[in-house]
Symmetry: C2
Subunit: 145 residues, 2 copies
C-alpha cells in the first residue's frame, strides 16, 4: 500500500543573509503550500536559532507535512515535503534559486508505505545548476481546484 | 558539506486501534527523543484526524525534526527523524513492533546536505520481520551525555 511521496530537497550555495531571515524561509514554504494547494492544520511552528544559526519551520498539513531547515553558516537549506495524496511537483530548483539564491538544488523522492521496500529512494537526476532564471516561471500563482 | 542524517521509517501491519490512539503514537516519539537525547524546542504539535483517520505529530528539535503520521485504515505508521548532528540509531524495528504492533519495518537513510548528490538515499536492507522480541532491549533508558 503506497501512501504518498516525500520530496527531500537540499539546496546549496544559498545567501547566508536570506537563510538567517525567517521571512525568506517562510516565503518559500508559503509558496509551496499555495502552489500545490496544500491545507495547513493549525499554526505553523517557526524557530530562529541563535546567530549564526538559521531557522526551522514545520507545517502540519492534511496532506502530511512540510519542514524547512536553514544553515546560513554553510549556505544550505533543507526541505521535506511529504504528501500522502498525489500532488504536482513543486519547481524547487527554480524557486529556491529565486527566493534563497541557491546555486544547486538536489531533489530526491521517496515512495512511502508498504511498497517502499522495493521502490527504495531515488535521486531525480544530477543536482541542477540552474542557468535559465530569466525565463518566466509558469503555473505559479495559478489556483488549482 | 554534510549536515546530518535523515531516517525514513515506514511500519506496516500495525494495530489499527493503536494507530488511532494519539497517546500510542506520542509514546513512540517520546521514546525516540528520550533514547537519542534529542532536545525539543517549544511544544510538539499533534493532530487527530476524523475517524477512521489517524494522527500526525511534529516535533521541532534543536537537532532538526521528528514527524509521525499514522494510517489506521491501512495499518501503516510513518516516521521521519532528521538529525543535523550525529545521533545513534534508534531501534525502530524492535520498538515499533512493541509499541504499535508492527509486523514489518522499513528503515531508509538519507545523508543531507551538499554531499547528498553522490550519496543518494539508501535502504538499510530488507524490511525486517522481527522474530526476537522476547529479548530484552538494550541501551534503552540510558541517558547519554
Amino acid at each position: 500500500m503506497n501512501v504518498g511521496t516525500e520530496w527531500i530537497v537540499d539546496a546549496e550555495g544559498c545567501s547566508a543573509e536570506l537563510l538567517r531571515d525567517m521571512e525568506a524561509a517562510r516565503s518559500v514554504c508559503e509558496e509551496v503550500i499555495s502552489d500545490l494547494s496544500l491545507r495547513v492544520v493549525g499554526e505553523p511552528v517557526w524557530h530562529q536559532f541563535p546567530q549564526p544559526g538559521g531557522v526551522t519551520g514545520l507545517y502540519l498539513l492534511t496532506e502530511s507535512h512540510l519542514a524547512c531547515h536553514t544553515f546560513p553558516e554553510t549556505g544550505l537549506a533543507m526541505f521535506n515535503l511529504y504528501c500522502c495524496r498525489p500532488r504536482p511537483r513543486f519547481a524547487w530548483e527554480e524557486r529556491l534559486r529565486a527566493l534563497l539564491g541557491a546555486s544547486r538544488v538536489n531533489v530526491r523522492t521517496a515512495a512511502r508505505g508498504g511498497e517502499a521496500d522495493h521502490t527504495s529512494l531515488e535521486a531525480e537526476g544530477k543536482p541542477s545548476f540552474e542557468a535559465k532564471f530569466s525565463e518566466p516561471t509558469s503555473a505559479r500563482g495559478v489556483s488549482r481546484p
